[in-house]
Symmetry: C2
């Protein structure tokens, strides 16, 4: 069972979900390094021992947030393109789905972007390593889904022929880089950013 499925069963008020939400708020706003693990426990109103039951370390929690974000991103893009066959429209919907997020999901996306290097090297602890492996698999799945999408457009003669595995990295690199600079109170709304990035990705692929 996936962590997200566990969450569903635990319901929206589950401690696990509350810990993840509090952690996203803190990691996203003051940064992972600056967040004290005890602060998250206090926010949720549980002791450090109870916290340990859910996450054995701050890094374990971070890795869980990262794989949750990857799973949600994958699901968002799948739902967004359902029933659409025109390759350019599929691309537009998939890119736009990355920005159909709540403020907390936007923080989560920024956390993923900022800590992606954590996924490179094996973790010393078993639970951290399991979550890291899960996140890496999701990255691969997402890249494969998007590569198929681009390949279909190339095979249909809508997009020019290019190496879709490289192109997909450029498209996702562009889309994800937004979380570096987007701020809720910045000069562009998330909808405006979305529109700009959708057009940019179409130019990139066409």
């Amino acid at each position: 069972m996936t962590a997200a499925a566990t969450d569903e069963l635990e319901g929206p008020r589950s401690k696990r979900r509350m810990i993840l939400e509090a952690a996203v708020d803190h990691f996203g706003e003051v940064g992972f390094e600056h967040t004290k693990w005890a602060t998250v426990a206090k926010d949720v109103g549980i002791g450090q021992t109870a916290l340990y039951h859910y996450f054995e370390s701050k890094t374990h929690c971070l890795l869980t947030i990262m794989s949750a974000e990857l799973l949600q991103a994958q699901q968002r893009s799948r739902v967004a393109v359902e029933g659409i066959s025109d390759p350019e429209e599929v691309l537009r919907k998939a890119v736009a789905s990355a920005f159909e997020v709540t403020q907390r999901e936007a923080l989560q996306a920024r956390i993923l972007l900022s800590h992606q290097d954590l996924l490179v090297a094996p973790r010393p602890s078993e639970r951290e390593e399991a979550e890291r492996v899960r996140a890496r698999e999701l990255v691969r799945e997402i890249e494969a889904t998007w590569a198929e999408m681009l390949r279909a457009g190339m095979d249909a003669g809508v997009f020019p022929e290019r190496d879709e595995r490289v192109l997909v990295r450029l498209v996702l690199g562009l889309v994800n880089s937004v979380w570096r600079w987007y701020r809720p109170k910045g000069p562009q709304t998330l909808q405006e950013v979305s529109d700009i990035v959708v057009e940019a990705c179409v130019r990139l692929v066409r």
Copy 2:
């Protein structure tokens, strides 16, 4: 005097430069978190007390690597576009300059990308904070230089009219995202990656 200028005076064999090089190798290959500060001292053949003379912490060293990389990137792009007036050619040369790097500089670029969130919040120590502020100023300078470049192309009617401050972030986001996945022994050479990204940036801007 800037840190880079200090380096020049200290010469290529200076301890400071040796520490930075050893740190880039370790941070870039096994990751910042996994690198023991003592390992860097040992590599360079100095004690921890001597190391402290140059960098008060591993994070101070990381921030110094980041601002050094930003300064070099800014200089590389400036030199690359010197004497060129055609806006598209300027863009091509500037993008290509990001990939005219040694293997160690590629690691350095990856380190910068992976730790960019460090630049967001003030540092508790004075020396770390000075380096962070320097890095942030360089990010702003780089964005301003590239924005001017794009604006000149728009004013000349070569690039379509767009908000150059947003476009510059997309272009730099795309260029920098390469360091996430490029590996020296990967399927594409750095020259091939450079050619692909140059063409991608031209499509993005045109």
